[in-house]
Chain length 330, copies 2
Amino acid sequence: MIKRTKGVTISQVADAAGVARSSVSRAFTRPDMLSPETVTRIMKAAEALGYVPNHTARALSTGRHGNVGLIVPDIANPFFPPLIQAAQLEADRSDFCIFLGNTEENPKQEDKLVGRFAGQVEGLVLASSRLSDERIRAHAGQLPLVLINRDIDGIPRVLIDSGSGVRQAVEHLAKLGHRRIVYVSGPSNSWSNKQRRTAIKAAASGLGIVVETVPAVLASYNSGRNAVSAILATGATAAVAFDDLTAQGVLAGLSEKRVSVPSDFSLIGCDDVLGAVTYPALTSVSNRSTEAGRVAVSLLLDMLQSRAIRDVRYVLETHLVVRNTTTAAR
Amino acid sequence: MIKRTKGVTISQVADAAGVARSSVSRAFTRPDMLSPETVTRIMKAAEALGYVPNHTARALSTGRHGNVGLIVPDIANPFFPPLIQAAQLEADRSDFCIFLGNTEENPKQEDKLVGRFAGQVEGLVLASSRLSDERIRAHAGQLPLVLINRDIDGIPRVLIDSGSGVRQAVEHLAKLGHRRIVYVSGPSNSWSNKQRRTAIKAAASGLGIVVETVPAVLASYNSGRNAVSAILATGATAAVAFDDLTAQGVLAGLSEKRVSVPSDFSLIGCDDVLGAVTYPALTSVSNRSTEAGRVAVSLLLDMLQSRAIRDVRYVLETHLVVRNTTTAAR
DNA sequence: GAGTTCCATGCAACCGGTTGCATGTCAAGT
DNA sequence: ACTTGACATGCAACCGGTTGCATGGAACTC
């Protein structure tokens, strides 16, 4: 049967090597302070005993535990896994571990997670936070914070500017002759949603296009599907959805209602997370989630290093990826 | 500008409340040992100072830090997010936090992550581990471990028995008149892959069906797509793919080669992660990933509670979900 | 009213490291 | 030969809690 080995401590290593505990500590953290022979002797003893430094103890005395937290609203949304993956990779490069939190789009849960993480992490990345500005500011007062897709003065943030891509989407639709389009909006407390809606309205009004907004409440397949009746009721000939998931739901809803895409109706998604794998392949606005994850963590680690908070605002541009769900208006 | 608040310690609270440090500690951990008045006095003082117990210090003296690790091979594979989400929810119920690790299907990375996590977590869940049995056994000697989709004697494990569903899939194809089918296999070090291949062969031989195996190497869209030539070369009329992602790739590859599904070729996936959203909707073997995540964490927390390792083998049955990618053989 | 119990609280050691300062040694400087 | 300094190492306090044991007073017993 399997039995557990108990921890070897620094004292045991010190005894075995015939030195003081402090020397063992230094052998691991600042070997340059010791003579090379002492270091090797200590290392040999440590190896023989199977010594592994105790992370917790080290964290207690240094105040640094080498963890950062990452909180996302919905891990199952394909926008996030690449972001998480990139964040983890970047953290790894500096020997940091990632605590992952999933809030299920619920600000209460988010607050709770932040509280639980604080004290175990040196800093936090909040991706697409659903918290109010005040709560975020409050948290930022407790520990280093970097935001993704949330634009608050004084707090370092990485923004995926879907505005640029959305503008191209509207221009694309205009060129195809669409004069009346729908924006299928996402979560009301989402910064990206606000940004996209604003960008669409601005672009449309410049091109003489009418935009109606149909709410989808959540960013999900089902809310997209449920929004279809309302979308068709507007008399529009094309729609831009808050994200690809919503668009996919709209696609399904349209197909159920025998409205074929793109011949009867044009559809554009956002985030380009499944563009190539829907049928027809979805025209979408590119995302930069991988970069966002990487940059956010790298920014955070910088802050931890320098102990300074710079007011960084890192913007990532996007563009339209045209596939098969858009065509000329009838 | 934002400034950080420094930590309030137990001593400050003790001074403010006019008691010993130990009393403050007990007020938070074992209030029944103190008189109610003392507890309220301490709590009031703590509140006033904004005291929050230091997680690290507590962990050091108790040896319990309330974290468990979860390691998966690929976050971006849609099989895992629901599992992760469920694991997190379950951990949350007991006030545990989840450390997430992503190995990118790389055993080296997995080993490294386990090492880095050990010492910060009380236990570990390895989902679809790509490590060798020996490595897993070695890790299990260091800390409590629960496996998902990996069957090793003596180590608690949660198994999604796709065998039952795969058997149904083969029977389904047999009933439709297919006599020659392909199994598009997944990662060679995947337990699920082995299980599925075995189940298919067993079921097929009982029904007088010929099975050819075509390797897809990784569980991904692209490997599925690349496998299509080899699949068609076998002359089979139907295929079962290692997972839905692979199936989706196969679907795309077939469509590029003008082989239409299901009229020319029948296809079945596994894990049912995107069945309803492909076109045509994919027939697939159901998954139980949410339950697997939940059960694994709950098992792990049990182990931590009781300090005992029981040889648990928790099996979750699956079944075939018929949609639109299968039809009678020509 | 003295002896016994019980309860609330304090004392101090401990968890396993880190680190400022003191000490001792040896070589270089004059 | 004596001072000076650099360097390697040890000592002990500290990080912020937890916990076994001791203590003192109140309540209870006879």
